[in-house]
């Protein structure tokens, strides 16, 4: 168990390192930030001076090691645009993104698992087909389009919910619903197939023969035995949620990490964009590490054999 965690931790660090490197290369390969910052009217001398101030005139590898060294000290650099530490900017935005993704994930789980279970229990009936169609729709609809439709229907036409920005608990509803659609559909589909497989197992039939009620078979024996594949995609969902949040936050003007990233990229604030990527990857790696540990809790077979 301890060994597993250590291995996962090392793998996580390697992932983090790789992602950080890619972020650095992309940020430094996309034009001249100094020129972009100063605008078209700037003189070449002024650009060169700013490049020097930002340290951009140094060799790339020096900048890279400087960047990595900063990361190791917990220094994510200073924003070019806001002239504030990146970490501070990110920390201001994280609660909003956390709220949005948490609500979205909760919706995805609370709707997706029962939906998938229902479809599996009613396999090959119209309920199953309707559920599968809904899940397929959820998986294929583009999130920006869905977001705009939600705004049009529930904010503009019906006027029930706010269309955007973070203002009170109701304002999270529409963006969270839009963000939850893809993971909800994936969770529903996976729960359905995993549950259908489990319900076909002999111990389910054996449970019936011993007089177990239908509910207890489905909830106690079925769901527990089909939860591992569902938990597996949870880790991937976090990735999907974080990248989906960029789009959703933009559509709903939600003041989270996603809008910060968009603003940073639009404003050529490459140090800030880099920092957002680093934090995003960090969260992703940590969440997946937690999920690996959770496996062992849910599946005693893993716990015992690795103990």
């Amino acid at each position: 168990m301890i060994k597993t965690i250590v291995i996962r931790l090392l793998l996580g660090i390697a992932t983090l390192f790789l992602a950080v490197t890619v972020a650095f290369i992309v940020a430094h390969g996309s034009g001249n930030p100094a020129a972009e910052l100063l605008g078209a009217s700037a003189t070449p001398e002024r650009v060169a001076q700013l490049q020097h101030e930002l340290g951009l005139d140094r060799p790339l590898y020096v900048q890279y090691f400087d960047f990595i060294g900063g990361l190791l000290r917990g220094d994510l650099g200073t924003s070019l645009r806001y002239n504030q530490p990146n970490l501070e900017l990110i920390m201001q935005r994280i609660p909003a993104t956390f709220e949005l993704t948490a609500v979205a994930l909760a919706i995805a789980v609370v709707v997706g698992i029962p939906l998938g279970t229902l479809a599996a229990v009613k396999e090959s009936t119209w309920i199953d087909r309707v559920t599968s169609a809904v899940a397929l729709f959820g998986q294929s609809v583009p999130v920006f389009w869905l977001g705009m439709m939600l705004i049009l229907i529930f904010a503009v036409q019906l006027g029930w919910l706010p269309a955007g920005q973070r203002n009170g608990p109701l304002s999270v509803v529409l963006p969270a619903v839009a963000l939850s659609t893809l993971p909800m559909a994936q969770i529903a589909r996976l729960t359905r197939s995993s549950m259908a497989e489990t319900l076909g197992e002999q111990f389910i039939v054996a449970g019936r023969a011993r007089g177990l009620s239908r509910a207890s078979i489905i909830l106690r024996h079925g769901l527990r035995n089909s939860s591992i594949p569902v938990l597996t995609i949870f880790g991937l969902q976090i990735g999907a949620l974080l990248s989906g949040a960029v789009t959703v936050e933009y559509v709903f003007a939600w003041p989270g990490l996603g809008t910060l990233a968009t603003q940073a990229i639009e404003g050529r604030d490459f140090t800030l964009a880099q920092a957002v990527v680093v934090v995003g990857v960090f969260v992703f790696v940590i969440v997946n590490l937690i999920i690996d540990v959770l496996y062992a809790v849910i599946d005693p077979r893993i716990r015992r054999t690795r103990a």
Binding site: Q202, F203, V205, A206, A209, R210, H221, N225, R301
Partner: protein, 263 residues
């Protein structure tokens, strides 16, 4: 005369309308302390009989009774307890995430005082297992141990009828013999009858006093094990017997052993 614990009368099972019935007008009985075999190739309808007799599948027509109780999928919980089943895949019939002990606790919660006649340790001992296995998960047991757990779990509910659907075909030959011995012992000592489903004529002959040979949903031959095996009147039974590889040699060996070990 001992009580009839299973009376199947003119049972027909049709899975899809318009298709050939899986079971076609089968009648048979099992008495208390009796062990009745149903043999046939896969697809002959023997597992369908097991499922209906265990109340896991509805009969299309015909009746299935255990004493005064009509066996249907709608049986109440306490009625269901009287008819228990042991399945082919020993590990597969145990929830992989439930220890043996917690599986027994679940049954005790479900069936209350019906299960209070024996402790977990005594129950495991009854089926030849060490009580330390109570803390184990199914994958930590051997196939034979898992099958003993299944048999014990069935016994806990004090059934009148035990249906054993190919209970040994997933096991090694040496373990097969132990499980058969256990079933035979239970049949004699507990007040229950066993319906034994198998494709293996040699096993059925060794353990059952009465045999029904099935083909394409119908019973083509019935009688005592000796009658059916030694003088098959139906050509299908004869062909099944002939299909057992090395049967004559094995029997000769067995006879030879018996002679040499005799005093």
């Amino acid at each position: 005369m001992s009580e009839t614990v299973l009376a199947i009368d003119e049972l027909t099972v049709v899975y899809r309308r318009g298709h050939a019935p899986a079971v076609d007008g089968v009648s048979l009985q099992v008495r208390e302390h009796g062990m009745v075999g149903v043999v046939g190739e896969s697809g002959s309808g023997k597992t369908s009989i097991a499922m209906v007799a265990a109340g896991l599948w509805p009969a299309t027509s015909g009746t299935v009774m255990s004493g005064d109780l009509r066996i249907t999928p709608r049986m109440r919980r306490n009625e269901r307890a009287t008819v228990q089943m042991v399945f082919q895949d020993p590990q597969g019939s145990l929830d992989p995430r439930q220890t043996i002990g917690s599986g027994l606790r679940e049954l005790r919660r479900l069936h209350g005082s019906r299960t209070s006649w024996i402790s977990d340790a005594d129950l495991l001992d009854r089926v030849g297992l060490d009580p330390v296995l109570l803390d184990r998960l199914p994958h930590q047991l051997s196939g034979g141990q898992a099958q003993r757990v299944s048999i014990g779990r069935a016994l806990l509910l004090r059934p009148r009828l035990l249906i054993a659907d190919e209970p040994t075909s997933a096991l090694d030959v040496s373990v097969q013999a132990q499980i058969l011995r256990l079933l035979d012992e239970i049949r004699r000592e507990e007040g229950l009858g066993i319906l034994f489903i198998s494709h293996d004529l040699a096993i059925v002959r060794a353990i059952c006093e009465e045999v029904h040979v099935m083909r394409a949903g119908k019973v083509v031959e019935s009688g005592t094990a000796e009658q059916v095996m030694d003088n098959p009147t139906h050509e299908y039974t004869a062909s099944l017997l002939a299909a057992i590889p090395g049967r004559e040699r094995r029997e000769q060996d067995a006879i030879g052993r018996r002679e040499t070990t005799a005093p």
